[in-house]
């Protein structure tokens, strides 16, 4: 067979096309989160490796810093921070003509003071008469800025915007919301598989029906229960335990179903042998079932954990939207509304919220896929 047939090349190109389309959005977000926020606001992320033309306004220093030299009163200073790497192309002294002067030109203000500017942003402002104003005059610069990458956005988002706390809150929601259903469903699935009791088949049918019930069906009644419960005992209606139990409830059917499918595949003889040896169901569960189920537990843990970590609706309805309770997705949504133009905050915030899922994705992909495939086979 020809290895480099036209059809093989075509399929490679087609797949490459899909891959590029699929990776670009996330890649753009990642690059943007590392860019200097001033550059991010004025140029596309795909230009981040080239120099960018930036227009800025600076104010020179006021009268305190003047010195007398060669018969002039002078104020010297620099516009840019050290090592900014920016090179001025042109500048102006009024907002109407921001490109009026080139480097080397002497710009003259109305009060006959003059300013000289070099391309690194060092200025010398001089006047025959003494400067009397506390605030200096404005300069409008057009400069070329080299690519600038920084972790500043991450520092800002984590500690000033409250994303750091939201990250901890999300962890406090997701971990118990994953472990609690795993604990109670493993016993539930065990009894549905290996114990005989009246109503077992009905219970199983209910689980299968519950698999597809949309969680919207539960929101209003449960919110009412929580409110009544809170009023009755004088505690907050919205709380972490409330969210854990809600997630447990919504994940119960799928967790039980997946676990039961797995347990069913274990050989019956093993249980029988253990029983003959006098082991109780709890012994069997601890000594045989748990060690054998580790891979299944891992898959289900990942699925449920990602579901809880990425959830928005449950966190929105069953938690107060205050700094000590708000979860990452709700926080991001809030930032989308209030800081919609501050892309350095949004992109960085989104990337922070994605770190845990992406870590799980790359480190434990095998279990993730296994869980998804197992869950889908039965629909």
């Amino acid at each position: 067979m020809k290895k480099f047939s036209i059809s093989s090349i075509l399929s490679q190109l087609l797949l490459l096309f899909f891959v590029i389309i699929w990776i670009i959005p996330t890649f753009g977000l990642f690059i943007s989160s590392l860019r200097d926020k001033d550059l991010l606001a004025i140029s596309g992320w795909w230009t981040s490796l080239t120099t960018t033309e930036v227009n800025e306004i600076y104010r020179m220093s006021g009268m305190e810093s003047q010195i007398e030299e060669d018969g002039y009163f002078k104020i010297k200073g620099k516009l840019f921070e050290d090592n900014s790497g920016k090179k001025i192309e042109s500048f102006g002294i009024t907002s109407k003509k921001i490109n009026e002067f080139n480097i080397g030109d002497v710009a003259i203000f109305k009060d006959e003071s003059e300013v000289l500017l070099d391309e690194d942003g060092n200025y010398e402002w001089r006047s025959k008469t003494e400067f009397k104003k506390k605030k200096g005059k404005r300069l409008f610069t057009t400069s070329l800025s080299p690519p600038a990458f920084t972790f500043e956005n991450y520092r800002e988002v984590l500690f000033k915007e409250g994303i750091g706390r939201a990250f901890i809150n999300t962890m406090a929601v997701a971990l118990p919301s994953t472990l609690i259903p795993l604990i109670i469903c493993s016993f539930f699935a065990y009894s549905l598989t290996w114990m005989k009791f009246y109503g077992r088949d009905t219970l199983l049918a209910i689980i299968i029906a519950s698999l597809v019930v949309p969680l919207q069906m539960s929101l209003i009644p449960i919110l009412t229960i929580y409110n009544d419960f809170g009023a009755l005992f004088g505690v907050a209606a919205k709380s972490y335990p409330g969210v854990w139990m809600a997630h447990t409830g919504f994940g119960l059917a799928s967790t039980t179903f997946l676990l039961r499918n797995f347990l069913k595949s274990l050989p019956n003889e093993m249980m029988e042998a253990a029983k003959v040896d006098g082991a109780s169901h709890y012994d069997i569960f601890l000594r045989i079932i748990i060690p054998l189920s580790i891979p299944a537990f891992a898959s289900i843990f990942i699925l449920q954990f990602l579901w809880c970590w990425n959830d928005l609706l449950v966190g929105l309805v069953f938690l107060d939207q205050v700094p000590s309770e708000i979860i990452l997705t709700a926080k991001l949504k809030e930032l989308l509304g209030s800081r919609g133009e501050n892309w350095e905050i949004l992109t960085t915030g989104a990337f922070v919220s994605m770190t845990v899922p992406l870590f799980i994705f790359f480190a434990l992909q095998r279990y993730f896929i296994r869980g998804l495939v197992a869950g889908s086979v039965k629909g």
Partner: protein, 327 residues
């Protein structure tokens, strides 16, 4: 609540359930065999110990709410007075509801179909190419990201600046470089729905892809070899062998994505909040849970409409389960 407190209650919450099972079973193991002579009796108690927590949760969070939501849909906004079909009549005449139903239907038509299609095509391509598994990984990655995170990613792509400014949104930058006017994509009625759906397709294709990849391994290699030797083109093989062979899987994935799309909420809530005619049922329902102090009657009707969408799937699952039990 300080972080230390938070860690403490998380620990306590998890420990509570472990302790319940351990202590109750320990008691049963230690005293059960001595005092309760009959094995059957001990066994029944054990069943109760094993299933009670799960059953209580199932009852409170799924079973009771389903019936309560149905009841509430016939009651007024506070759930106190019986109002008959009033809420349903309101829904039928509400333009927002009609718009949401329409949008939901378009979502249901477009997203599962395209995600399944792309998933199948990509799985098939990746299966035959040496760097296929890397490609699959990349396309599967959005599955791990939250809908809100994906919303931010795509909002950045759709970002709009006035024509006099440099475009920082990729889509508008491309449009401008081709010589067209930049557009505020998310505010163009009807079309904006498709821009939102693109996000969902971007996410769900990964799901379809991994399941198809697993299923493709079950297609007999000899059959494909034979077809190739007979000179069938790859396209022909795809349509005449692979698609018929994976018919069941296609159906399963299509249903799976349909269920997810039916309750889609986050993407629209984060991107447009239902404005510019992008609302869907789940968003309208969330809205009515809190609008004007909340209206449990109208909210319940909307939940029931979403539920009606899954009833055929529910019935089919139960039917299949019954068939399996017989074997």
């Amino acid at each position: 609540m300080t972080i230390l407190n938070l860690v403490f209650i998380v620990f306590l919450g998890i420990l509570f359930f472990i302790a319940y099972f351990h202590i109750s079973n320990y008691i049963l193991d230690t005293y059960g065999n001595k005092t309760l002579k009959r094995y059957n009796f001990e066994n029944s108690i054990r069943v109760i110990v094993f299933i009670t927590p799960a059953f209580i949760v199932l009852f409170i969070f799924i079973l009771y709410p389903v019936f309560e939501t149905i009841r509430l849909s016939f009651y007024d906004k506070f759930g106190r007075e019986f109002v008959g079909l009033y809420n349903y009549k309101w829904a039928i005449n509400d333009p927002e509801f009609r718009r949401s139903i329409l949008n939901n239907l378009v979502w249901l038509l477009v997203v599962p179909t395209l995600s399944t299609f792309f998933g199948l095509v990509i799985a098939n391509l990746a299966d035959r190419i040496w760097w296929g598994s890397i490609a699959k990984s990349i396309i599967f990655m959005p599955m791990a990201i939250s809908f809100v995170g994906a919303g931010v990613i795509w909002k950045f792509i759709y970002e709009y600046r006035g024509p006099e400014n440099t475009q920082i949104g990729l889509l508008n930058a491309v449009i401008v470089s081709l010589g067209y006017e930049p557009q505020a994509w998310l505010t163009i009625p009807m079309w904006n729905n498709f821009f939102l759906m693109a996000i969902m397709i971007w996410i769900q294709t990964g799901l379809a892809l991994v399941i198809f990849s697993a299923a493709l391994r079950s297609v007999p290699k000899e059959m494909l070899e034979a077809a190739r030797i007979d000179g069938a083109s790859e396209l022909k093989i795809f349509f005449s062998i692979i698609i018929p062979y994976l018919e069941q899987t296609i159906l399963v994935i299509w249903t799976l994505i349909t269920i997810i799309v039916l309750r889609i909420f986050d993407i629209i809530f984060a991107m447009t909040n239902g404005e510019w005619q992008t609302g869907v049922l789940a968003n309208l329902m969330y809205d009515w849970m809190f609008r004007g102090g909340g209206d449990s009657g109208r909210g319940s009707v909307l939940a029931i409409v979403i539920m009606i969408g899954v009833i055929p799937i529910l019935a089919w699952n139960l039917y299949k389960h019954r068939q399996e039990q017989k074997i």
